[in-house]
Amino acid sequence: MPEVIPPDSVGIVTPQVAQFDIPLTLECGKQLNSFQLMYETYGELNADRSNAVLICHALSGHHHAAGYHSMEDSKPGWWDSCIGPGKPIDTNKFFVVSLNNLGGCAGSTGPASINPETGNAYGPDFPVVTVQDWVRSQAMLADRLNIPHWAAVIGGSLGGMQALQWSIEYPERVHNAAVIASTPRLSAQNIAFNEVARKAITSDPNFHEGRYGEHTTYPDKGLMLARMVGHITYLSNASMGEKFGRDLRAQTLKFGLLDVQFEVESYLHYQGERFSKNFDANTYLLMTRALDYFDPARAHEGDLSKALEPAKCKYLVVSFTTDWRFPPDRSEELVNAMVEAKKSVSYAEVDSPHGHDAFLIPTQRYMDVFHGFMGRVAKEIPHAR
């Protein structure tokens, strides 16, 4: 917990709820008649409403991106390293909006929410949502907050996909988009890892076809496994080696098959267990599907540059050298398509040992790039008269 709030923190923040009673037709054809989105804001919206920045979260993220909910919080929001006074997403200059996506489990309507039509939790009946659905629901939130356009839409990983989708779907409403540690579509290997995670959850005897709520059980073992597999793909061989090496928990080998012996095992267990206590299993399935389905080029015979044609924003694309989940060549594929479509784009391949997680870690080069780009975005904001 923070003894005092650091000067470059947004401080104590309070989440807010936006209730929508307007039907939202989803990409799958189903409709949500009403839903709510949990969000937080940092900084002040200027008189011209021209300094708003949208933060899109990744697989297990949520609305709490920066600051603290109370002085008792053990950690700040998930992207506190990049959002705050003087940080790349500078809250002295920008009005930042961060939300929990539809289908999430941190307060926005999702599988764990009560379906008003049945009076029970949606569970597995919650419709499969896509990146496009998220972006559309985020646009409804923007309307509600009276934000005509975003100075920038920013996201890492799955969040980067949302930033990309925004630029294509609402070209007039996005001035800049930062797509960090992301990809224009998952590879077969990416989907394969997602499938292992899903299988871990659905084969847990407590899963009950997703109706664990009705059985008052919880597939925590499955979710734990899913997270363990996921977590391996977020780190790099180098960062794992540096953090744990082959360190043992005890002094000697136990010659047992069941005990946790290496530090890395213990770490994965801890991460998995902690996650399984705080995350909804159906949401995890949903989020991995949204990842699998994302492919803006699909509607254009696989031609990504055609898919990007409507976009009008200036892009920043960032990749990290040791990210093997979405490696630099996936970002380069995106950059090449942007150049082919004659879009404004800058690209940096940041040398970092932290694997896919690097987009959350404020290493010097990454911060320089982010500051450079956001500084220019801030300069171009039309100022209130």
């Binding site: 200036k314 920043l316 380069e332 950059v335 090449n336 150049v339 082919e340 004659k342 404004s344 784009v345 800058s346 690209y347 940096a348 391949e349 080069r365 320089d368 790039v369 500051h371 450079g372 780009f373 500084g375 220019r376 171009e380």
Partner: protein, 197 residues
């Protein structure tokens, strides 16, 4: 602005699309997009320069010409490809020249002329690799692995059937005068070429 940049900025037509190889801190592209409505991208590998381009709002792509080449760009993607003071530092300048002319009909190339009289004099007098203001490196730590003269470059163009549209050289004071235009290989410090195929 550096001498070669202030000359070539006048050789770029307004409203064109330009790729700048080794764009540095983005000075040229910044000038061209502000004053000539040029749309462009710069390729760069130095982190400091990339950050500076981002600050300026110049499109910059982190790409190493030696390891990645230009194969990610399609034929005739640009109106003009510019490469200033980088030809001598790449691993395969001849292949790069072909690649540049694949991406655009016209290219502008500038490089330090190793035939410049002061360099010849340095080598002749001292018997050591020349070190000067334009070439400040010692032989073992220089990025300039393919230094050439004005004449060498012309010969390469002739062999490759590359047509020279304009050529000029600038001297120590970054000026052009009738003397260095008359004996460019001897009196020109920086060679500036505008070529096509």
């Amino acid at each position: 602005m550096r001498a070669d940049l202030s000359i070539i900025k006048d050789w770029v037509q307004p409203g064109t699309e330009v790729l700048d190889l080794g764009c540095g801190d983005g000075t040229l592209l910044d000038y061209l997009q502000t004053h000539k409505q040029v749309r462009g991208y710069g390729l760069e590998i130095s982190s400091e320069n990339i950050t500076e381009c981002l600050r300026k709002g110049v499109n910059v792509i982190e790409q190493d010409l030696d390891s990645k080449g230009l194969s990610n760009f399609k034929d005739k993607s640009f109106d003009m490809v510019v490469m200033t003071q980088a030809l001598q530092a790449v691993r395969q300048p001849d292949i790069l020249l072909d690649e540049m002319l694949r991406l655009a009909k016209e290219c502008i190339i500038t490089f330090p002329n190793f035939g410049y009289w002061r360099l010849r004099y340095y080598l002749a007098r001292k018997g050591q690799m020349p070190v000067s203001k334009t070439l400040p490196y010692t032989w073992y730590n220089t990025p300039n692995i393919h230094l050439c003269t004005f004449k060498d470059f012309e010969e390469l163009c002739y062999q490759k059937n590359i047509h020279i549209l304009h050529r000029t050289v600038v001297d120590d004071e970054h000026r052009t005068n009738w003397l260095n235009q008359l004996w460019p290989n001897l009196l020109g410090q920086i060679a500036i070429y505008h070529v096509t195929r």
